[in-house]
Symmetry: C2
Subunit: 395 residues, 2 copies
């Protein structure tokens, strides 16, 4: 018996554990403190009524013999894949139903998709980054190259034609930075990947927050992406599905690196090592894409975006450099006064009663930066913005 | 970019496609034929009322801000892990909550668990077998050794001490054969694995069908299993969850091959590459383990077991050797008259209007055998049993 040695290379992540410990210590020392949490990347608004209704109805169907559902295609019911195809059609992207793979979320797919590729491919990952990309690759000892996201490039790094890459992770709008690529910038990545024979794994989990006219909500809005990109998306932030779970991955049939049929390979992978999404959740997800569902979800997104605007305005007023907050629920700010990420965390908590996330937790280039999120209550977020302004003025 | 070459070694499985094609052709030729399907391994009874009620209630909770649930521990809510621990306590097995990992089903876990082991471990798989075990291992080019299940050993092969193995798949009660190991037989496997330093992946998906007094429903009923076995289970057959999706995997903390902490590794694997089960499904699963839920699920299992008994009695009356049908919903019969699996399929369909599954679809040792399932309607199954007797007499 030989254990997978690659696991030994994984760094233990204590980021959110450390945050919780510090917040607990602060509360113990200051039991009267009124703490506002802008640290967590989780939604707070409940599921919208059309989604709840669909899930209740589907649950009841499962209790009657004539409407009960057992095993189904692991790739998703046609009714849901049709709804997703319709959603893409609105973005001007035409998908065949068998290019759409329903799953339990983006995180699973960004890791599991690696099964299709040899272990010695070079993986290009931006820094800072959503940590699961790195960990999933380290678990199979894949060689990782980092690409620097920083203030100079607005945390939107562009490809370096001299750098070799086989697999490229792109998340736009980005977690943690909230920065979003333009179509012209994405086109540079698409051209680079096509010229290199590389595959882009495009995480579009935050696409529903994009409101800037002409800004891309799918990489397939860029010509040529269908021969180099897999798009992985989720309803977690689109529809508040973080506890309901539904994602989907697009593997175009035109994507054939080295002549391989990745669409057929992913189908085989999923039918062998995945069981499919619950029927009741697929009905809930279908309701997200209905006109009533979409309208209600967009109201929630507008609510969060309003929060983001309030935070962003406070930072602008205080003269603090930041990105995100426009097409994204995340605001990524440069810690003022040369503070490092954790020093800023401590002072923001101690002096303003606000909890955020130290940027260094997302990679080396996150040092000196800080993430705030817009997923909280509007009144509390407005209160946080006021405190933030006062804190920054006094700093 | 290098594509995973191992996928090229996967055989395309046409078993159920071929069955569907033959049935369609028969129906076209005989539009009046009344066909009874005993081929599919899927449940037909709806979810029981306590489960539906729990899922409806949980769906409604998700629609209210004060009871909404977002991200949670990928390993499962404590309320569900406590319910599973209670279920095991009834079998005399004591589990810590952090030894229980909730998932979307057994198939996912029997494949994904391989992430913890180096690719050059030798995998021991019985033949015939549930095909996903083989495919998941072939996807990473793992060396597979088969162990023969056959009429001589009652389709319950025992370990050969001279044969090397690192990873051992055992499914009991077995799919496809319905045969179930006794505790004494499982003890031989446990001793073999412990002496070899091997890990048993024990698929207990059909454990709820076990009724024979003293027969094991968990490998942990066998002393020593906690140092060599991972148990993977599912509510698919226990509670009709094939379309609702809930499984769980037990990784004991005492299981430490080569000193590795497999429990911690699986936790890391799942938190990196899995998103957790929907809240509403976890509430549904909790209701399965409630007294009312268990009683109702056991009624359904008794219904299926009654079907199995009817089929088994017909075969016994006709003098046809078979296994399963007692602690299992599957009946595995030797094709009479020296017919091969597909010849028997054709004649059973043509002369009795019954669809089953050719044993050869589950491996080389399945040739000359045939699987019938007990998941159908009771009246139709009784009609099938009558036809089967007549057919076998005339054969």
């Amino acid at each position: 018996m030989k254990i997978n040695k690659c696991f030994a290379n994984l760094a233990q992540s204590y980021l959110f554990v450390d945050i919780a410990r510090k917040v607990d210590a602060y509360k113990t020392a200051h039991p009267e403190a009124d703490i506002i949490r802008l640290g967590i990347g989780d939604v707070t608004r409940p599921l919208v009524p059309p989604v709840v209704d669909a899930m209740v109805k589907a649950s009841e169907e499962m209790g009657r013999a004539e409407t009960f559902r057992g095993y189904e295609d692991e790739l998703g019911y046609p009714f849901l894949r049709e709804a997703i195809a319709g959603y893409y059609a609105q973005k001007g992207v035409k998908l065949a139903l068998d290019e759409i793979f329903v799953s339990d979320g983006a995180k699973s797919d960004t890791g599991n998709i690696l099964d299709l590729f040899e272990q010695d491919n070079t993986v290009l990952i931006p820094d800072p980054v959503f940590p699961a990309y790195v960990d999933a690759n380290m678990m199979s000892c894949r060689p990782i190259e980092y690409i620097n996201a920083n203030k100079e490039n607005g945390f939107l790094p562009l490809p370096n034609p001299g750098q070799k890459a086989d697999i490229i992770y792109i998340c736009s709008p980005n977690n943690p930075t909230g920065a979003s690529y333009t179509k012209a910038q994405l086109a540079q990545w698409v051209d680079y990947a096509n010229s290199m024979g590389a595959v882009i794994l495009y995480d579009a989990a935050y696409e529903a927050f994009v409101q800037t006219p002409g800004a891309p909500r799918s990489i397939y809005e860029v010509p040529g992406a269908e021969t180099c990109a897999i798009e992985i998306c989720s309803l977690s932030k689109t529809a508040g599905f973080t506890g309901t779970r539904c994602g989907y991955t697009i593997v175009p049939k035109a994507l054939r690196p080295e002549g391989a049929d990745l669409n057929a390979m992913w189908r085989r992978r999923q039918t062998t090592k995945y069981n499919g999404l619950p029927y009741v959740v697929q009905r809930a997800a279908q309701a997200v894409f209905s006109p009533a569902g979409m309208a209600a979800c967009q109201e929630n997104i507008a609510y969060y975006r309003q929060n983001a605007g309030v935070i962003s305005a406070a930072l602008t007023e205080a003269g603090v450099w930041h990105t995100g907050g426009v097409d994204s629920p995340y605001i990524w700010l440069e810690c003022p006064g040369g503070l490092d990420s954790w020093a800023f965390f401590d002072r923001l908590l101690g002096e303003a009663g606000i909890v955020g996330t130290p940027g260094v937790g997302f990679g080396r280039n996150g040092e000196g930066y800080f993430r705030l999120t817009a997923f909280g209550d509007a009144a509390r977020t407005a209160e946080a913005a006021t405190r933030l302004k006062d804190f920054l003025k006094a700093l």
